[in-house]
């Protein structure tokens, strides 16, 4: 990642990672909406009901639950990764810090309080609640985004599930009733397992495999035993 002392290039070059992934996200979300709309209308037609317009579909609970069930698992993945890698290590992986540094580390190692530097964020140099909060801000925000998106999944999921229940001539359920349905847990767990698999695969594969130039990989010539070294 860029460091404040690097000479700044153009806006597009300096932010290409965020811009590329942000644009790809929007394109993919639009494609998901198109595919989801077609699939949902196929089902409505089979049930003898009126198909939905595109605008109605993208503001429906059916689209919202499909989107938020994936969001929650992604934020959970990053929350667990940010928080878990404080204490858990993997010898030889660039995704892990060095084995002997497991834990929150000292203020000196983290450039906090009296050890903050001239260009450190202001709250890192404080010694009160601001430092405590800022020192955990990434995990807190990722954890909060996970909880909010999981809550959104549960609310939109209740409405979507109840629409399906009514199409099947069955009673709707309450929000708490929905949390006990297989539908809610199937949507949730199928995403969790894939995220956890991807993290575990990345941690292990990056011990032995390399991607030249990627900070997610060790340098090509680094030893398999080298831990916490990014290329």
């Amino acid at each position: 990642m860029s460091d404040g002392r690097e000479r700044r290039g153009s806006f597009w070059r300096d932010n290409s990672l965020t811009l590329a992934f942000g644009a790809a996200f929007l394109v993919t979300l639009a494609c998901q909406a198109i595919a989801g709309h077609a699939e949902f209308n196929e089902q409505l037609t089979v049930d003898g009901l009126q198909p939905l317009g595109f605008a109605d579909y993208v503001t429906s609970s059916d689209f919202a639950v499909d989107v938020t069930e994936n969001w929650q698992s992604e934020f959970l993945q990053f929350f667990l990764y940010v928080f878990g890698t404080v204490y858990l290590v993997q010898r030889g992986s660039p995704e892990s810090k060095k084995v002997h540094r497991a834990g929150p580390e000292s203020e000196e190692e983290q450039w906090m309080g009296d050890h903050s530097r001239a260009d450190s964020p202001r709250w890192a140099g404080t010694k009160d609640w601001r430092q405590t909060l800022y020192a955990r801000s990434l995990g807190i925000v990722m954890g909060s985004l996970f909880v909010l998106s999981w809550l959104a999944q549960s609310i939109t999921g209740t409405a979507a599930y109840n629409g399906q229940q009514l199409r099947r001539l069955e009673d709707p359920v309450s929000w708490s009733g929905y949390l006990a349905t297989p539908n809610f847990w199937d949507r949730t767990l199928q995403n969790w397992q894939s995220e956890l698999l991807a993290v575990a695969a990345m941690v292990v594969l990056s011990i032995y495999l390399r991607q030249r130039g990627s900070p997610e990989s060790k340098p090509v010539g680094a030893a398999h035993t080298a831990t916490g070294v990014e290329g």
């Binding site: 969001w71 409405a159 109840n162």
Partner: protein, 128 residues
């Protein structure tokens, strides 16, 4: 920001605004009133297309002739409406109806419905 939009949609767009429930309830009441007054043409017009087709196919008669033969229970007061998206359940004293939203408004998908334990409602009139 996107997450806030999703939460907003979850709260505002996916629930059951009162206007939607009111409209579904009015359609249910209109269907029952048409049945009670013997206005079967109006009652048939309030059936969803697939429900009407199924009824005519099952009975080999026009809807206006087939519907009275189904002897749907007489319903009076509205007991409650639950709407999710474009589907609604209208509970009345004497009958339960399932409705769906079409271009022409709410239409009855199933009528004369009684709950079954751990099963879909059993309905005297319903679509495919």
């Amino acid at each position: 920001m996107l997450l806030l939009c999703a939460l907003g949609l979850a709260v505002c767009g996916c629930g059951a605004p009162a206007a939607r429930e009111d409209a579904a309830g009015r359609a249910g009441l209109a269907f029952e009133e048409a049945l009670a007054t013997g206005d079967h043409a109006r009652a048939c017009a309030l059936l969803a297309p697939s429900t009407r087709e199924q009824l005519e196919q099952d009975e080999q008669e026009s809807c206006t002739r087939a519907l009275p033969a189904e002897e749907l229970p007489r319903a009076v007061g509205l007991r409650g409406v639950e709407a999710y998206g474009r589907q609604a359940l209208v509970r009345m004293s004497g009958d339960t109806l399932f409705l769906s939203l079409f271009t022409g408004g709410w239409k009855v998908v199933a009528a004369g419905c009684t709950p079954q334990p751990d099963q879909p409602y059993r309905c005297l009139v319903k679509g495919t």
